[in-house]
Symmetry: D2
Amino acid sequence: MIIVLRPDATEKQINHIIERVKKLGLKPWVSKGVERTIIGVIGEEDTLRIQPLEVFPGVEKVMPILTPYKLVSRNFKKEDSHIEIGNGLSVGGERIITMAGPCSVENEKLLIEIARKVKQAGATVLRGGAFKPRSSPYSFQGLGEKGLKYLAKAKKETGLLIVTELMDTRDMALLEKYADIIQIGARNMQNFNLLKVVGQSKKPILLKRGMASTLKELLMSAEYILSEGNFNVILCERGIRTFEEYTRFTLDISAVAAIKALSHLPVVVDPSHATGKWGLVASCTKAAVAAGCDGLLIEVHPNPEEAFSDGAQSLLPENFASLMQDLRKVAEAVGRKI
Amino acid sequence: MIIVLRPDATEKQINHIIERVKKLGLKPWVSKGVERTIIGVIGEEDTLRIQPLEVFPGVEKVMPILTPYKLVSRNFKKEDSHIEIGNGLSVGGERIITMAGPCSVENEKLLIEIARKVKQAGATVLRGGAFKPRSSPYSFQGLGEKGLKYLAKAKKETGLLIVTELMDTRDMALLEKYADIIQIGARNMQNFNLLKVVGQSKKPILLKRGMASTLKELLMSAEYILSEGNFNVILCERGIRTFEEYTRFTLDISAVAAIKALSHLPVVVDPSHATGKWGLVASCTKAAVAAGCDGLLIEVHPNPEEAFSDGAQSLLPENFASLMQDLRKVAEAVGRKI
Amino acid sequence: MIIVLRPDATEKQINHIIERVKKLGLKPWVSKGVERTIIGVIGEEDTLRIQPLEVFPGVEKVMPILTPYKLVSRNFKKEDSHIEIGNGLSVGGERIITMAGPCSVENEKLLIEIARKVKQAGATVLRGGAFKPRSSPYSFQGLGEKGLKYLAKAKKETGLLIVTELMDTRDMALLEKYADIIQIGARNMQNFNLLKVVGQSKKPILLKRGMASTLKELLMSAEYILSEGNFNVILCERGIRTFEEYTRFTLDISAVAAIKALSHLPVVVDPSHATGKWGLVASCTKAAVAAGCDGLLIEVHPNPEEAFSDGAQSLLPENFASLMQDLRKVAEAVGRKI
Amino acid sequence: MIIVLRPDATEKQINHIIERVKKLGLKPWVSKGVERTIIGVIGEEDTLRIQPLEVFPGVEKVMPILTPYKLVSRNFKKEDSHIEIGNGLSVGGERIITMAGPCSVENEKLLIEIARKVKQAGATVLRGGAFKPRSSPYSFQGLGEKGLKYLAKAKKETGLLIVTELMDTRDMALLEKYADIIQIGARNMQNFNLLKVVGQSKKPILLKRGMASTLKELLMSAEYILSEGNFNVILCERGIRTFEEYTRFTLDISAVAAIKALSHLPVVVDPSHATGKWGLVASCTKAAVAAGCDGLLIEVHPNPEEAFSDGAQSLLPENFASLMQDLRKVAEAVGRKI
């Protein structure tokens, strides 16, 4: 922690801060320059971080040296984490894991049809929402437990693993029962009670980046889960909110390499939600694979005209199959498999 | 709803869309121009809104005519809503309601001390968090029910009403018991299950705008609460996330007049969270009153150096008292009281 | 400057950086903590700032201590600058200077009509663009020199001072001749050649914040002008680009107090461009005055239906006059005159 | 153009608008729905676009149907444009054009050394700034004409084409003489006088997207150049400004496919400026190629520690050569050459 003092800071103010630092059991050092005096405290920064040093008289600004997350950081663990998800598969290794399916679970027959098609094309995980976070109270809110049961049937029929979203702490037992991977949606990335609840599980957690969350905040939210004991966290870049209106969100492709620099956790990309337009999904998915992502989350629907939600960003099964063909080549070009 | 067709849309595609609209029981009209054909459907737009018309072949874009919210809109109710909060006070009338207090409830003695001071300065509601949404799992997470009990004592001592935050559907019964106004924080503005739960209450709800939420989305989230039966909603502008780094968020002062143009609900401003710097709070609070807000949410702490959270943005009680003096003049200048 | 080293930085790397700092004639100090070593260099930071220290092996990040601007900073000059603009008026003193008029100069008769009306209502400066930056090549581009001549006539008729925009270094001589205040528009805030040219003038310069510029960048652009010798700079907050779509831009009201904390230069607010909606202008203008701005830039047009540009955000002269009445009360409430 | 009326619009107001539309020689049609009346005008939308219809009494909002750009649009020209840049090369065809070199031209010897190395690695265009837009007046501002002469020498030595930036209308003659491709930088994307000047040239223009510009605005700025007669425009995505702080800007990878959907012009990606961190450049460059870009703009410097500008985002020549090897595989995977 570096505490930068104002040019007019008095000796008394400086001593007051030094005393405070010492009282916390830390060792400050002081450096007086021509234009500014600064006080440094290295190590044990966490103790100091929660002190509102900015309000001490004479302080101009406070600059942390260390990252506020520990367990998720690359410094904590040098090697890439491989998150085992079942069926002998893991996210974070050579193979890119493709999670595909409809936005919402709509009915059993349709879900199984989609599951078969995405499996045939190469997907290994079926996505589908039973609990749906919708911005309008008048929109379809999901089938709830019935949707989870359909997912279970689709799993039984096809062998695909299931990823589906948890929205409420009260539904955790249900998700434990039905999901192979529990998704925390973008709108709940800072629903800290939900993070604590999934942190007490052993299930793999797919944590989606909030639409206005920095990478640091994403990693802090992941830290919530790890600090509760669950290290099986998969991060997901799904587009951030910007001023651009043509796309629904702006896919932050640099997040793939950035997360890998900062953390040992694997990163998955969701080009469907990021772009909001099916016509842009293929280009962005190829980009994600080339950038080095560990998995994909793609919406597929055989009849987008009839989809209950997000039809505009869903690929037809035949387009998805064709995209998977292209992705095999791109994956191979960057030394991966899909 | 206006459906704009691509220049190369075929007759067959156009007829397919028309059939679909008719099947929904709606009446489309078609207008063929030199460069584009468009299909219009007016009235009952909601039925159509949930159809993914963008994916129909031949469609270039779809433009809604009506707002997606109803009950919160100014069209639904012309007069300003006055939300009664207790003690004969209401938010939305001539008097601007000042809610002040510490970020977190820390201990009983301190809370009562602050309560007395903000009351003396003119505040009518005590704010203070018992459940705290903190970006780090290692930060102080709030006292929970104990904090609520301290708030109850402060209320008993001072007569101030209590506003405090609900973070988890499981805590609703507690909040019903202790809070006069239940706050939904910015990070939970799209926690739709939480919105449904407070929608089933009769308590006034203070709904804070999400840091990356448009005004439309804020109103949609309010619509969740009203559509469940609770019309006692107070909206709160608390700063949005932008590229600017000097302030914690960017206070969207135009939101005050904009919300009043779009909705009948009252609007409160939180300059403390918006700026994140106590030195900017006075200027922004005066601006909020001049802009026409119905209430204020201000952090006050007698010893920011020791505050458990957000010390940097808290005013000292004496600065708060002095600000209240200034605000009286500004409120009078715009025909209000405080 | 604080140079934070990576946990795995070697002695050799650390010595390499120290040597580099010494070679520049500066004195580094080294502090070894448990988790990180840091190297500090205080004073003469500018010499170091232009070194790409981030690329030195072993470096994790580099954090500047001092602001990159000097002449515009509050540290350089403690007292508020008062910029004399003519007619015995100055921007930055007790009196708030109101600059009002049409977006574009359209014709002589209309301009003089508007000039008379805004003067009568209390404006002291006439605004109006002769050179117009328009996003479409097919939109009205301004009358050029003819427009400047009309402004000169309006000045002669009414005694109002003139503020108008410079878009091209080639037009500087013209602007020197006709303008009392030369405006640099938001789109040219980082047109550094233009900044250098107006820096060599003695005219007051109204520098508008770029739509995606931080306050630091605004101050850096002002520094360009001051560093060329022209200290007569007035800063202007005119809304920044955010994700919100209801308003044209988001007025950053906290910029008023923030700029005054960082700089001695006066700050003017343009609520017309910020909101893009005349219905929001009155609320935001009152907010700007209450926040402590030194001037206002407001679009007024007697017939917005016929305006060549920005009609949607222009006030009618009668609304402007009524707003000025309201502003007098708000200004008085915060100890100012208008 | 769709004009949506307020629910309380009167017959008189409606007729007033209809009269206005007719006076412009256009044919309006009116559609009365249960909740709203709308007036549509299709075709010749440009005539109407410049009318401030929002200010007509009774109007709620105005929604354009057509894009405001013509010549750059995919509707105007179905086939991809191939922009010939010299040496038998063109941007927009099967081959991806790599433009590489230092941020600034620093001296002749170094420039030629870099030119040789990037050529050897596969680049076909040398980039390098002689006029530099720097946010600080105290930073290196470029060598000016001397820099252009060094570029000419490097071209003579290596045969590489030259791309370099124009910042001032007064320097156009110089750029015509020395540049094969004239770059308009992000900060000048809406410097409309500069756009007009390059529009009167026949040289290929590399137009970089402004850091806060929408794709629509980028296309409008390109329209300025085409409307002056120069159809040789290459668009460049170089990152947009968002709230994320880890990267310098956020690379909008979806812009590649989006621009190709909206326009016939080729699109180049600059991962160096977008990320601001050399460690992220390789990942993002591979993503750009996989996404379908037509060219790359990459900063290369043999000694970033000594670079006059942007050292932190420059690749070493050996890293650039290695990246080019990787890109060959990715390009091939998506049916392109590099």
